[in-house]
Symmetry: C2
Subunit: 421 residues, 2 copies
C-alpha cells in the first residue's frame, strides 16, 4: 500500500472513531486511561526491551548522545508516564461544560458547550513518552488522535500503541481512537498535515526545523510556536532584589527551554545600580553577554562581553548567551518587545502600579508577567494539569495548552417551540 493511501485510511478511521470518543462519558474515558496505566506497569520489561532495540539501532546509525538520551525509556521515565496518566484521570472533564447560558427576549436560552475538536494529529521526535502523554490528553478531552513519532522510536512506539489499544478496547472505546502511524516513511507527515477533511488540528512537538516545514506545508490548522524569544524588562522602579533573582532565574534555570529569557531590557535610570550585581551572578555561569553600546560601557571588564548586533534581538540562543539592551523608559521597552519578541512570554520587573498595568495590557504576547520569571510559562505552573504544547498564535489556543486547548465551544440553544418573526 502506498503511504498516501495508508494515511488516508488512518485519517478516515480516526474521523469515524472521533464520534465514539466524543460521545463517551467521563467514566469511560477515565477507565481507558487507568487501564493503559496498569498495562504499562505490567509490560514495563517489554517496553524496555523494545526501547533497547531502538537504542541499539540508533547507536549503530551514529545518533548524537543528546538524541539517545531523549530516546531512552528509563524506569523512572516509565513511572513518570504512569503517574502522568493517573494525574490526567484526576483532572475534571472539560467536555460538556455549558457556560453563559442566558434567556433571550425571544424565549430561547443560549449558551456555549465545550466539545472536543475531533481528530488531533501529533507529530513529535524521538521521545517515546510523548506517545502516552499525548494519547492521554486526547482521550481525556474526547478526541481521536493520530500519533506520528520519530522513526528512531518505532519499536517502542509500536509496543506502546498495543498497550493503548488494549486500554481503549477494555473501556469499550474504538481502538482507532488512538492510532500510532506504523511507518518510518517521512511522506506520512506530509500526508497527515494536508488532510483537513480528516484532521482538525496538528500539534507539532519538535525542533524549529520541523515546525518551519509544517508552517510552509500544512493545510490543517496548528497549535504551535516557532520561537521563544522572551524578554525581561527591568523598569526604573524595579526592586533590585527581585530584578536580580528573576533575571538570573529566567536566563540560567534552564537554557534550552522556550520560556528562557533571551533578551534583557534595562531602564537607563536603574542600569548602573542593577547591571554590575546581575553580571556577577551571570559570571558564575559564564554567560556570554551581547550588549548594546551603553550596557557595554557599564559592563567593561566582564570576561564574556560582546557588542550586540541587530541580529541578537531576534535570536533564540537556547544556551548561556544573553542579549542586553538599555532603554529610556517603558515605552521604548514595549516597542522593542512588540517588534522583536516571538510573542511567547515577556516580563516586567517594577513596583510602579501604572507601569505594570500598562505593560500587561500593551505587550502583545501569549504570556505577560509582572515580577515573575518567564520560566513559569508552562501548563503545570499555570495549573492546567497537563500540557500538550505552547501556542504563540492569537487565534484559538494561546499560551500553554492543556485539555481546554484541545476543545472548542459550540453554541447550544434550548427552546420551547420558538420561531423567528
Amino acid at each position: 500500500m502506498n503511504i498516501t493511501e495508508y494515511m488516508q485510511s488512518v485519517g478516515q478511521r480516526a474521523r469515524v472513531a472521533s464520534r465514539a470518543m466524543a460521545r463517551a462519558d467521563s467514566a469511560t474515558r477515565n477507565r481507558a486511561l487507568l487501564l493503559i496505566a496498569d498495562a504499562i506497569v505490567r509490560d514495563a520489561p517489554l517496553l524496555r526491551a523494545a526501547n533497547q532495540l531502538d537504542l541499539d539501532a540508533a547507536r549503530a546509525s551514529g545518533l548524537a548522545p543528546a538524541m539517545l538520551e531523549r530516546l531512552a525509556l528509563s524506569e523512572s521515565a516509565i513511572n513518570t508516564m504512569v503517574e502522568g496518566l493517573r494525574q490526567i484521570v484526576s483532572l475534571s472533564d472539560p467536555i460538556g461544560e455549558i457556560s453563559n447560558l442566558k434567556y433571550r427576549p425571544s424565549g430561547i436560552q443560549v449558551g456555549q458547550m465545550r466539545v472536543p475538536l475531533g481528530v488531533i494529529g501529533i507529530i513529535y521526535e524521538s521521545r517515546p513518552n510523548v506517545t502516552v502523554d499525548a494519547a492521554g490528553l486526547c482521550i481525556k478531552s474526547g478526541n481521536a488522535t493520530i500519533l506520528r513519532g520519530g522513526s528512531e522510536a518505532i519499536h517502542c512506539n509500536r509496543a506502546l500503541a498495543k498497550i493503548v489499544a488494549e486500554g481503549l478496547l477494555g473501556a469499550g472505546l474504538p481502538t482507532d481512537g488512538v492510532q500510532v502511524v506504523d511507518t518510518t516513511d517521512r511522506a506520512a507527515v506530509g500526508a497527515l498535515i494536508t488532510m483537513p477533511q480528516y484532521v482538525d488540528v496538528i500539534v507539532p512537538r519538535g525542533g524549529k526545523g520541523l515546525i518551519a516545514r509544517l508552517i510552509d506545508e500544512a493545510t490543517v490548522p496548528m497549535i504551535k510556536h516557532l520561537d521563544g524569544i522572551c524578554h525581561v524588562y527591568i523598569d526604573a522602579k524595579a526592586e533590585i532584589a527581585k530584578a536580580l533573582a528573576i533575571a538570573f532565574n529566567a536566563k540560567c534555570q534552564r537554557y534550552g527551554t522556550c520560556n528562557t529569557m533571551e533578551t534583557l531590557l534595562v531602564a537607563r535610570a536603574i542600569a548602573p545600580a542593577v547591571l554590575p550585581q546581575l553580571v556577577a551572578l551571570y559570571a558564575t555561569k559564564e554567560v556570554e553577554l551581547r550588549a548594546d553600546p551603553e550596557a557595554f560601557a557599564l559592563l567593561a571588564g566582564y570576561p564574556h562581553l560582546v557588542a550586540a548586533t541587530d541580529e541578537d534581538w531576534s535570536t533564540e540562543y537556547l544556551g548561556p548567551i544573553l542579549a542586553i539592551k538599555t532603554v529610556e523608559n517603558m515605552d521604548e521597552a514595549i516597542d522593542h518587545i512588540n517588534t522583536w519578541s516571538s510573542k511567547h512570554t515577556d516580563a516586567i520587573i517594577t513596583e510602579d502600579y501604572s507601569a505594570a498595568m500598562r505593560f500587561l495590557r500593551e505587550v502583545d504576547s501569549a504570556s505577560v508577567m509582572i515580577n515573575a520569571s518567564t520560566r513559569f510559562a508552562d501548563g503545570f505552573e499555570y495549573g492546567l494539569g497537563a500540557e500538550i504544547g505552547i501556542s504563540n498564535d492569537k487565534l484559538h489556543a494561546r499560551g500553554p495548552v492543556g485539555l481546554e486547548g484541545l476543545t472548542s465551544l459550540k453554541y447550544v440553544v434550548f427552546g420551547h417551540g420558538e420561531i423567528r418573526n
Copy 2:
C-alpha cells in the same frame, strides 16, 4: 504605485495603528464611534450623492437588480447605520477583562486577559453599510481594520472612509486605525489575504465564490463559513404543533439566509402524523420538496414533489426548495447530520429529555438547538449585540461572531518576585 506595494503600505500602517487602537481606553473608542455617527447624520446628503454616482455607474454597466438593491443607501439604511453605531457604543468593552485569576502554589497569580486580535481585514461586496458596521465593531474591540468593499460601491465607500477618519482623528486615534482600500483592482484582495505579517485575521462577507477563492489562496486565518446546510430533525417524541411551526419557519421565514433549513429529517414513527400537515403549510409558499422514497410515498399528490438524489443532501438551495428524509431514529439522524451538514446550525424537535441531551452533545455543529427554529442562529438573537459574521470552524470563533470573536486571550501573571526552582 503598484498594487502589491500599495497594499504592503496599507498593511504596515495598519500594524502600527493597531498598537494605538489596542491601547486606547473605552471612552476614547466610544467617542470615535459617536463622532462617526454624528458625521454620518450631518453628511447624509453627501453620502446619498456619492451613492447615486455608484448606482448610476452600476446601472450603466448592467448590474442585476438584486445587486442594485444591495448597493443602494436609502435614508432608512443610513439611519440603521447610525443606530447600529450607537448600539455598539452601549455594549460593554470586551477588552481588558481578566478571567480565571487564581493563585498557584509557587505564589504567582495566573489569569487570562481579553485583548484585541490586532489587524482585521474585511472583504465584502456591494453593501456600503458594511463599511460602517465593520469599522464600528473593529474600533470597539480595539482592532485596526482594513476594509475592502465591492468596486461598485467605491464612491460611497470613499465618502464613508472620510467620515470614519474624521471620527478617529476627533477622538485622538490614528486615522490608519480604519483604512478603506482605495482601488478597485482585484489584485488588492490577493495581496490582503497573503500578508500574515500585517493582518491577523480575514473576515470575508460575500458569496460562496468569494469565500471558496479565499480558502484556496489565503495564508491569513479567516473567520468564515462557506455553506449553511442546516437541518431540522423531527424526533418520534416531537410535539406536533412545535414541529409544524419550527419546520415551516426554519424554511420559509427567509430563503436566502445561511441559517435557513435546507434538509428536514423525520423519524419514521411520526412521519405519517406530521408530514401531511406540514406539507399543507409548504403548499402555501409553493415550496418544492425533494423527498426520499418513503417520504415521497407519504406525500404523493403534492404538486411540487421531486425524488431526492444524494446531491440534495449537500445542496444549499437558498430558495423555496427543501430536501426531506425519513430516518429510523435519532442515531440515523445524527449520522446524516454529521455526514452532510455544513456544521452551521442543526435543530431537534422533541419532548424526550435523553434524546435532546444526546443531540445537543453529539451533533458537531456551531449551533445546536432543541425545539427552536434554525433562523435564530444570529448574533443579535444570541445577544452578542452585533455580528461581524458566522464561523463554521471549530478553532477560535465558532457560530455567530460579535465583539468577543474579534478578540483573543493572553495569559497574565502577577508575581511578587517569584522564581522557578
